[in-house]
């Protein structure tokens, strides 16, 4: 195609634009953690980590790692002034109890009803693993999915129904891919933004569920901060 898909950093920057100043945010493992690096310096965002941190800051300088101060992906982080520590049960109280304003999660599949599949595939060889995804998915006020539009071998990840086991039903609010920004509405997927040069036909070929389009579909472009 002639379209230029966004880079991972570009995708993360686009998500960051949608996070309001003052939000409490939990970033899932993998690509979502990039969002923390690109959030505008003009905003005060409080990052939550499921393992008991509020006010998580960036990675420490090399040599200053504290292995008792790590994020959900087990990488060393820092604490910003105003941050605090608490135990796991309190941490999940924040997640399940509707106290996190925004979570950004990766996904294997998202359905047109906003069903999320991000914890298990159909690969029976691997032991299943779930982590904190289910609590976040049901508990965060806004669930944003950040993922590639298709699998590495080109199969669509936006589907009429998920074929992989569900994490939670009807929870996804918005999806960010390298090609488009798509809302989940009561009548299914609604395309809000597309990268320049991408035709609706090309987007639909990469998507297994019907797409509706906003009255004005904006250009999805890599943004600065």
């Amino acid at each position: 195609m002639t379209a230029t898909p966004l880079s991972h950093t570009g995708m993360a920057a686009r998500v960051a634009q949608d996070i309001p100043d003052g939000s409490y945010v939990n970033l899932g493992i993998g690509m979502p953690t990039l969002v923390g690096d690109v959030v505008s310096a003009g905003k005060e965002i409080v990052f939550h980590s499921e393992n008991g941190i509020l006010g998580m800051g960036p990675a420490p300088a090399a040599g200053e790692e504290d292995w008792e101060l790590i994020n959900a992906g087990k990488a060393p982080v820092t604490l910003v002034p105003g941050g605090s520590y608490f135990h796991h049960t309190d941490s999940f109280m924040m997640m399940r109890g509707g106290h996190i304003d925004v979570t950004v999660l990766g996904a294997f599949q998202v359905s047109a009803q906003g069903d999320l599949a991000n914890w298990a595939t159909d690969d029976a060889h691997l032991p299943p693993a779930v982590g904190g995804a289910m609590d976040l998915a049901v508990g965060a006020k806004r669930v944003l999915v950040l993922m590639m539009h298709t699998t590495p071998d080109g199969r669509p990840k936006l589907l009429p129904e998920c074929t992989y086991p569900l994490t939670a039903a009807q929870v996804v609010d918005r999806i960010y891919t390298e090609l488009a920004v798509i809302d989940v509405t009561s009548s299914g997927f609604l395309v809000r933004e597309m990268v320049a040069g991408l035709t609706r036909e090309e987007l639909e070929r990469r998507t297994a569920a019907p797409l509706a389009y906003a009255e004005e579909v904006a250009v999805l472009a890599p943004t600065g901060r």
């Binding site: 999940f92 109890g97 049901v138």
Partner: protein, 221 residues
């Protein structure tokens, strides 16, 4: 920029609607957000459901709300304390509704709301009149009663210190219901004796992380 500090008690309780369920901290006189409750009286909201351990005493705080006919219903564990004259008078006259809840269940029900749980089974009260009309189930050979989450529209809490993010520490046994109520309301309003700078509170010793707090107001001791 996050700044949850408000300049006045009036601003702190602004917008509490008639009919609201209000969680009010305190056990005996310790930890009662007296000035916030008086500000709520001033503010004028009525037809309130008040969730609190005791039902007010003398002429102040919750007792004053009752006296001024702002309270439709009280949910509490121990309404009958020395000096709870206004509650007792209204109760005898049938002018106030009482939902009596064992103290641990009261606290746990608010925690369940704050934790996003749908309810829990507890052995406390399962053998008693207070289980009437509720689901009772034998679990591990013991009667348990199902208790629902108890959510507030507003929580009024007293703490010792806050920073602009709303992180809180408390003083001694004045902590009591505050940390739980802060998690369980749509709008959590806290009166503190002192504001401190962001970063001054020890991150290991913050009792209520600011995520649970919406407004903080300073009230000199």
């Amino acid at each position: 920029m996050i700044d949850k500090r408000v300049a006045s008690l009036a601003e702190a309780v602004a917008g509490v609607p008639d009919g609201a369920t209000v969680l009010v901290g305190g056990f005996g006189a310790a930890g009662v957000p007296v000035e916030l409750v008086h500000a709520l009286l001033e503010q004028g909201a009525r037809d309130l459901t008040i969730v609190t351990n005791n039902a007010g005493s003398g002429e102040t705080d919750v007792a004053a709300l009752i006296r001024e006919r702002r309270v439709r219903k009280i949910i509490c564990s121990y309404p009958r304390s020395a000096g709870s004259i206004w509650f007792e008078e209204f109760y005898r006259a049938g002018d106030i509704e009482l939902e009596l809840v064992p103290q641990g269940t009261l606290s746990e029900r608010m925690r369940a709301a704050g934790a996003g749980l749908g309810g829990f089974f507890t052995p406390a009260g399962a053998d008693s009149l207070l289980a009437r009309g509720k689901e009772v189930r034998m679990i591990a050979g013991r009667r348990h009663v199902f208790e629902e989450p108890l959510r507030g529209d507003v929580a009024l809490v007293q703490a010792l210190r806050a920073d602009r993010w709303g992180n809180l520490v408390y003083n001694k046994a004045a902590r009591n219901f505050g940390p739980t109520m802060a998690t369980a309301a749509g709008l959590t309003v806290v009166q503190v004796r002192e504001f401190v700078e962001l970063g001054e509170l020890d991150p290991e010793a913050v009792v209520t992380p600011g995520i649970f707090v919406d407004r903080v107001v300073e009230v000199a001791a």
